[in-house]
Structure formats: structure tokens, C-alpha cells
């Protein structure tokens, strides 16, 4: 699915001052492309990703998913898009601590109304595909950091999303695990033709990306 933003802006008010986290961003991400967004801490990467992932509402501007202006959609529709068309990978994984790895991956499938048997078999296959077949019934606290991120990726792609967004997915990982995660995301991008946007400092992600954007003080520029 193509993503296009038009003058996308997000402002926050902290006390009496105004912070422009994302400033008139115009970008276009073609279908199946792998995009990297790089920038220093506090530059607006996460805010931009949250806007693209419909987790946040822009102050101004448009987010076009295909030909639909998602910024105008009601919350219920945005929720449905997040569930069925998008996968989001967080820097801190955000797995639900009371659920096992298998249940965490089953959750989006259950929310999408899949029958229980299908949920179980698909979630199992997804965890096998990220080499966690021996960790199905482990809770997050029983997993290593790299394993947690792999569960988070499996959860993000459970409903076969057309768009995969990852906010610093290797930020918490050691270099070896980070490499595994990058190749996993690349693999998903190539095999499932998922439009992928990754916010990261990681040079390996930048090298792997089709297009790289830099962001500073909320302003996005194409890396040349």
C-alpha cells in the first residue's frame, strides 16, 4: 500500500511553549518499498511514525493510505486499519506481560475475528518463522530481548499487514541480535511485499533501505 503525506504537521503544547515535532512533512512511500528514517533523539522520528501508524492525529496535513485520507477517518475506522492493514513494532516491544508468546501473537488474530483453531495454527507458524518454536508458551519476562523483539515482529505481521512500521526496532538490542532482526524485517519486506518504514539510528538498516530520509527538528529530507 502506498503512503503519502502532505504538509504533515504535529505540534505539542508544553506549558506555554509550542513544540513542532513534525513540521510540514511531504513524503511518498511506494508499495513494497523499504524506507529508513534517521535522525537524532528527539528529532521527531517516533512522532512521524506514530502519525503514519495512525496512532496519533496530525495537527495539520494529510496522510494518504492508497487514495484515502486517513487523517479524516473516524477513530473506529483508524482502529480497523491499524488492526487489519498495519503492523507496528516498538523499540521496547510492548508485549503484554501476562500473555505467553503464542497468545501475544494470537491477540491481533483474535481481535480480527479469526476462529480459535486458525489463530493458534497461524500464530504457531509465525513464531516458527521467527525461530521461536521452542518459546511458544513462555511469557515475555522469560524471553531474551532479541526473542521479545521477534515475538513483537510476529505479532505485527499476524494479520498480513500491507504496511509495517518499526520504531527503532534494534535500539535495545546487541549488534548480533540487531542484525538478525534487520534481516527478519528485510525478509518480510521482500517476501510479503510489505511497505516498510523503519525509524532507526542503525547504519545496517540505512544500508538495507531502498530510500533513506533524515529528520531533524521535525523537518524531513531525502538522503542523497
Amino acid at each position: 500500500m502506498r503512503i503519502k503525506t502532505v504538509d504533515l504537521t504535529r505540534k505539542f503544547h508544553v506549558g506555554s511553549s509550542e513544540i513542532i515535532a513534525v513540521n510540514k512533512v511531504n513524503m511518498e512511500v511506494k508499495e513494497s518499498t523499504f524506507i529508513a528514517i534517521v535522525g537524532p533523539s528527539g528529532s521527531g522520528k517516533s512522532t512521524l511514525l506514530n502519525l503514519l501508524g495512525l496512532n496519533d492525529q496530525p495537527t495539520r496535513g494529510k496522510i494518504l493510505l492508497g487514495n484515502v485520507d486517513a487523517s479524516l477517518l473516524p477513530n473506529q475506522e483508524r482502529r480497523k486499519i491499524r488492526l487489519l492493514c498495519m503492523g507496528f513494532v516498538f523499540q521496547t516491544f510492548n508485549l503484554l506481560p501476562t500473555l505467553t508468546a503464542l497468545e501475544n501473537v494470537e491477540l491481533p488474530l483474535a481481535l480480527a475475528g479469526q476462529p480459535f483453531e486458525e489463530q493458534r495454527s497461524k500464530a504457531t507458524k509465525l513464531l516458527e518463522s521467527v525461530a521461536l518454536e521452542n518459546r511458544l508458551h513462555h511469557r515475555p519476562k522469560e524471553l531474551s530481548i532479541g526473542e521479545m523483539q521477534r515475538v513483537a515482529i510476529a505479532r505485527a505481521i499476524a494479520n498480513d499487514p500491507k504496511i509495517l512500521l518499526a520504531d527503532e526496532p534494534t535500539g535495545e538490542l546487541d549488534s548480533k541480535t540487531a542484525e538478525e532482526i534487520i534481516s527478519l524485517i528485510l525478509d518480510i519486506n521482500k517476501k510479503q511485499k510489505t511497505t516498510t518504514v523503519v525509524a532507526s539510528h542503525d547504519l545496517k538498516i540505512i544500508e538495507a533501505a531502498d530510500i533513506t530520509y533524515t529528520i531533524e527538528d521535525g523537518k524531513l529530507e531525502l538522503e542523497t
Binding site: F12, S46, T47, N50, G53, N55, D56, Q76, R79, K80, I81, R82, L83, L84, M86, F88, F90, N94, L95, L96, P97, L107, P108, L111, R155
Partner: protein, 366 residues
């Protein structure tokens, strides 16, 4: 804790309210004559003067509308001026031997027992609860008020008042309690077709210094007391439930606050708001479910302990009649109320959880 308290107090008061109500069962359809101003709970005199047996009985018997007259001496283990116990440990009831069944109805005796036949004998019938407490069987000798008597039978009944009583011939009762030729209550059964009110009126006109209490009047006398007990009970329950509601709400709000990230994650995954709402309300309901179940167990134990405390009967003897003290319907009502209140307590936290957005939560945390 709340459920424990509600069950313990509620079951106890409900039980004693039921006992008070059942006191009228034995004298249904009869006019009870007591000395003027006597304190009567239903048909049981617990205070007031005595009646001269022969004079009063004859005066009543001579009235035209009377079918049967039975004099009764009802003794609680109290002396004059003593404070009434919440639940007396035992009662003594003296009835003329030819009139056993006018008070006891068709109440059977346990195997091997028989009703005394000699008005001046030393035989006594005892309630099942008393007999079980002291291992009394027919033939056992018991000391009552300094007199050695013999148990001739054990009443096989669930009526609380009969369970804790000695029933003996009237003359024997008058002798051992030293109330010669005196009684404190006389039951008068009207002839068929004569309303109780009419008989009561004629008794009060003909016999001086007595109150003739019809069944309705007896009920009316006790009704305000019962209503007050029930109001207090309801008030205490309401107060405790409100406190529980606030407590559960506080606990759930804290739990939701501690799991902001989880609820925000559910939002990011695309979980419908109704799902988030259900999760929180279900969790609050589970507190009620588990707390309610535990509370009912402890509360029932509490009710048994209170009953044991008031009656001096060992706790183990109450276990067979556990559901008579804490009725299953009452426990079910309390359990469902607790679950419902906890679910209600989850509503506001659930609404807060529904408002959590991943972008805001992450922004607040980093």
C-alpha cells in the same frame, strides 16, 4: 472482607428474624392471653407478670366462643430484672400432659422416645439441639433447677424454639421453678366460625388485667422490631457495598494506571474500545468472584461462630445445619451482588483505559 462481614452479620440477623417469625407457627389461629402489659415476642412471653391458672382458665373456658383452653408456663433462664440474652441458651415449657399436641402439633420424637403421661412425674422431653449438645438420650437423667429429671424423648424438629427447649408437664414445671398454680400464657382456640378478634375482645371484657393477643396483633407488635432489624441490616450492607465499590474502583484504577502501556498497546494493535472495556470490567468482576467466594466461606464460618458464641453450643455441632444458619439463597444473593458491584467498580477505570493512546503514553514515558 466486606463479603465476610455482610454474610456473617446478615446471615445471623436473617436467621434470628426467621426464628422470631416462626415463634408464631406453633400458635397459629389461637388467641394468646397474657397478663396486662407483658412483653411478648410473637406467642412467647419474655417478661411481665403471671396469671392465676385456675381462675383465668375457668373465666376463659366459660366464654361461649371458646373451643379449647391450654395453660402454659414458659420459662426463660432469667431472673427478675436480668437482661434478656440475644439468644437464650434454653427454655422450659410446661404444658398439661393431655395438651402436648396443642403446642407441639405433630412434632415427632426421635426413635425410642415417648411423651410424658404423668402430670406429676419427673419426665421431660428435650429439643434435638440440646440433646445433641449434651448427648442426651431417652432414659438419661438431667438436673434442671436442682431437680433430677429423666429424658423421656427427644423432639425431632427443625423449629429453633423447640430445638432448644425442655418440654415438661405443667405441674412439674410449676414445681421445679416454684410458680405454684401460676402460668404466664394461656392459649384460647376460638370455635369454628368465630374470628380471633371477637374472642379476644370478649376475653379482655370478662377477664381483668389481661391482654388477649390475636395472631394479627402479635404480628403487629413484632413487625416494627423486625422492620427495624431489616432496615439496619440493609443499611449496613449498603454501606459496606459502597465502601467495597470505592475500594474496588481504587484498586482497578491503580491497576489500569500501572498498565498504561498495555492498554495503549492494545489501542495500537487496533483493539476495539469495547474489548478494552470488557477486559477491565472482567478483571474487576474477577476480584468480586474470587473475593465473593472467599468472603462467603469466611462469612459463613463467622455466622456459625456468632451462633456458637451466643448459644454456648460448640461450633462443630452447627456444621450439619450450616445452610439453615446461612441460607444458600442469601449467600447466592450476596455473591451475585458482590460480583455486580465489582463489575460496576470497574466501569470508571475501564473508561480511563479506553482513553489511553500509545503516542501519548510513549511520549509521557520517554
Amino acid at each position: 472482607m466486606a463479603t465476610t462481614f455482610v454474610v456473617a452479620v446478615g446471615a445471623t440477623t436473617t436467621r434470628y428474624t426467621a426464628i422470631i417469625k416462626e415463634m408464631n407457627v406453633l400458635f397459629s389461629g389461637q388467641v394468646m392471653v397474657v397478663s396486662e402489659g407483658a412483653i411478648v415476642i410473637q406467642a412467647i412471653p419474655i417478661g411481665g407478670g403471671l396469671l392465676p391458672q385456675n381462675y383465668t382458665e375457668n373465666m376463659i373456658r366459660n366464654l361461649t366462643n371458646v373451643e379449647k383452653v391450654v395453660s402454659i408456663l414458659f420459662i426463660t433462664p432469667l431472673g427478675v430484672g436480668e437482661i434478656i440474652q440475644p439468644v437464650p441458651v434454653n427454655f422450659s415449657i410446661g404444658i398439661p400432659v393431655q395438651d402436648w399436641h396443642s403446642m407441639l402439633g405433630p412434632t415427632p420424637l426421635r426413635e425410642g422416645g415417648r411423651f410424658p403421661t404423668n402430670e406429676s412425674g419427673t419426665e421431660v422431653v428435650v429439643g434435638a439441639s440440646l440433646a445433641d449438645q449434651h448427648n442426651w438420650l431417652p432414659g438419661t437423667e438431667v438436673m434442671i433447677n436442682g431437680y433430677m429429671l429423666e429424658v423421656s424423648g427427644v423432639l425431632d424438629t427443625k423449629l429453633a424454639i423447640l430445638n432448644r427447649c425442655f418440654v415438661m408437664p405443667l405441674k412439674l414445671t410449676q414445681k421445679i421453678y416454684n410458680y405454684p398454680k401460676s402460668v404466664n400464657i394461656i392459649s384460647a382456640k376460638p370455635i369454628q366460625g368465630c374470628p380471633q378478634e371477637k374472642l379476644a375482645e370478649s376475653i379482655e371484657q370478662r377477664v381483668e388485667f389481661v391482654d388477649a393477643l390475636t395472631e394479627d396483633r402479635r404480628n403487629d407488635m413484632i413487625q416494627p422490631v423486625l422492620a427495624q432489624i431489616e432496615t439496619w441490616n440493609l443499611g449496613i450492607q449498603t454501606l459496606i457495598f459502597i465502601m467495597s465499590l470505592i475500594l474496588v474502583m481504587t484498586v482497578t484504577v491503580m491497576s489500569v494506571s500501572e498498565r498504561r502501556r498495555d492498554f495503549a498497546t492494545l489501542d495500537a494493535i487496533g483493539a476495539p474500545l469495547s474489548y478494552v472495556f470488557r477486559v477491565v470490567v472482567f478483571e474487576a468482576g474477577m476480584i468480586g468472584f474470587l473475593g465473593g467466594a472467599l468472603g462467603i466461606i469466611f462469612g459463613t464460618f463467622g455466622a456459625l461462630s456468632l451462633a456458637s458464641l451466643y448459644t454456648d453450643i460448640s461450633l462443630s455441632q452447627f456444621f450439619p445445619s450450616i445452610f439453615e444458619i446461612a441460607s444458600p439463597i442469601y449467600m447466592l444473593e450476596i455473591f451475585l451482588s458482590v460480583v455486580a458491584i465489582c463489575c460496576l467498580g470497574g466501569v470508571i477505570p475501564a473508561l480511563r483505559a479506553m482513553k489511553m493512546r500509545i503516542a501519548e503514553v510513549l511520549r509521557a514515558e520517554y
